[in-house]
Symmetry: C2
């Protein structure tokens, strides 16, 4: 079972890697801008959000080829968020996935602009490559909501505030995570479902699954930040503790954090029951997320 | 005639001012983020791009009420671009429309994120408030193309490069302006036309008009940067010369710059002939743009 799952993931990842650069504009106008966009977009990573788009589409009986533009669009948005989060004015990171961050390579101005360009391009890809147009508009709305001032951007603002205000409750931390990580994961699942023509009931369960694994994913990130090896994780670790940000392990301990993540994944899989065997890979993915070491 | 025109502009501007804040999310999640978004969005300005959306819609026989969400969306994108352009890593401006720039008030991180949020919200507004959804998708595509890596963002990258490489030809300068200013103006006109159900022929002329006035507008900006009064213009002047950026007056002289701007506006008005009297306010606006002193 596990090896079927990992080979199915690997095939999706391969397709995403091959398709992503095809959406970058050819008519450059500025080579450095396109280089900077490509540098971060093609820097690897798990491609979790594209996988969720494709798997949600399959779970609802859709053709994942139809969802590939949305899979690539959400990865562009995720990439833009990493570029901006790494900036000196934000988390000030010089290492990401084992490579120098965008502003280290291209300078701060070009890094900001490459992020802006990826965010904007994501909506162009959705609007022009998802069919029919009514579904394209719904995908634009879903992605914008997940990425915007009630979702991911709000999460980043709250996360930065927490460095100085030092959020101390689990509720505060979950509010940050729900927006910063969860909202884009929810949008990924919703887009995959929308493209497959999912019912409102199916969309509701997909989104709930997304909220639960989003939180589990972030807790595991916190655990890896405490316990992980920078070589394996591919970015600086123990950075959250150093910056004064609260983490799950700090608030409730390592063991309780692990237990909570497991519990969330269990609940997430319960949400998938209405899909029957079509959602097997979404269940497998949820379990895989908490077993990872990077 | 002139007073009819200025009172019609004033009425459109009043409506835009009243409608813009209604699209900001109420469910804050982060008060500082919403404050920063509102601070820049409601800082005044000519609201040129929203005016173009509304006027293009009317020129094609549409109801401008239907186009108001697009008018507000393009102003959000314009505002985000100003916030990011003003950042220390970019133009490093501390004054905009006579007020301290976003990063001066909210700090650099929040300014970057307020810009990101406004850009994202623009697409949410288009996707959810423009009807029917097929037109919403076309508007998303138009705005993303104008604002993205082949449009406005490319223009800003090229503009920053020109500071060090010191672009010296009129062709280079026009390429920068066409992308940095022109592309979003073209998108404004296209969206207004799309919402009115314009024909491809009408859209073609609207976009051509937009390219021409976009360039004229930028030349006038360059002229004001040379000759204007900071009190009247509302931002630092003679900044381009100080930064080493080439300007129209520097390349071809003040008189030739004025003549060129006039000529462009003349050509722009020729593009409006197919609309008959319905495009009178677009003609008037073009002339108004080159007569302005701010």
């Amino acid at each position: 079972m596990k090896s079927d799952f990992t080979s199915s993931i690997a095939e999706d990842q391969r397709l995403v890697e091959a398709t992503l650069p095809s959406f970058l504009p050819l008519d450059g106008s500025s080579d450095v801008l396109l280089d900077a966009m490509r540098y971060s977009l093609m820097a690897g990573g798990k491609r979790l959000r594209p996988l969720l788009v494709l798997m949600a589409c399959r779970a609802c009986g859709g053709n994942p080829d139809d969802a590939m533009p949305a899979a690539c669009a959400v990865e562009m948005v995720h990439t833009y968020s990493l570029i901006h989060d790494d900036l000196p004015a934000m988390d000030d990171d010089d290492l990401r996935r084992g490579k120098p961050t965008s502003h280290k390579v291209y300078g701060e101005a070009n890094a900001i602009l490459a992020g802006d360009a990826l965010l904007t391009l994501a909506f162009e890809v959705l609007a022009t490559r998802i069919h029919p147009p009514a579904i394209a508009a719904k995908c634009c709305a879903s992605l914008a909501y997940g990425a915007g001032p009630q979702g991911m951007v709000a999460g980043q603002v709250l996360d930065l505030e927490a460095e100085t205000n030092h959020a101390k409750s689990v509720a505060q931390l979950e509010n940050i995570h729900r927006r910063k990580t969860g909202a884009l994961i929810v949008a990924s699942l919703e887009m995959g479902g929308l493209i497959a023509g999912a019912s409102d009931e199916q969309l509701k369960h997909l989104k709930k699954y997304g909220q639960l694994i989003g939180l589990a994913f972030q807790i595991v990130d916190d655990i890896l930040d405490c316990t992980g090896d920078a070589e394996v994780v591919g970015k600086n670790v123990r950075k959250d503790a150093a910056s004064g940000k609260a983490t799950y392990p700090e608030l409730v301990g390592l063991e309780e954090s692990r237990r909570h993540a497991n519990n969330l994944v269990h609940q997430a899989c319960d949400e998938l029951q209405i899909f029957g065997s079509g959602a097997q890979e979404l269940s497998d993915l949820a379990r895989y997320l908490i077993e990872r070491d990077r």
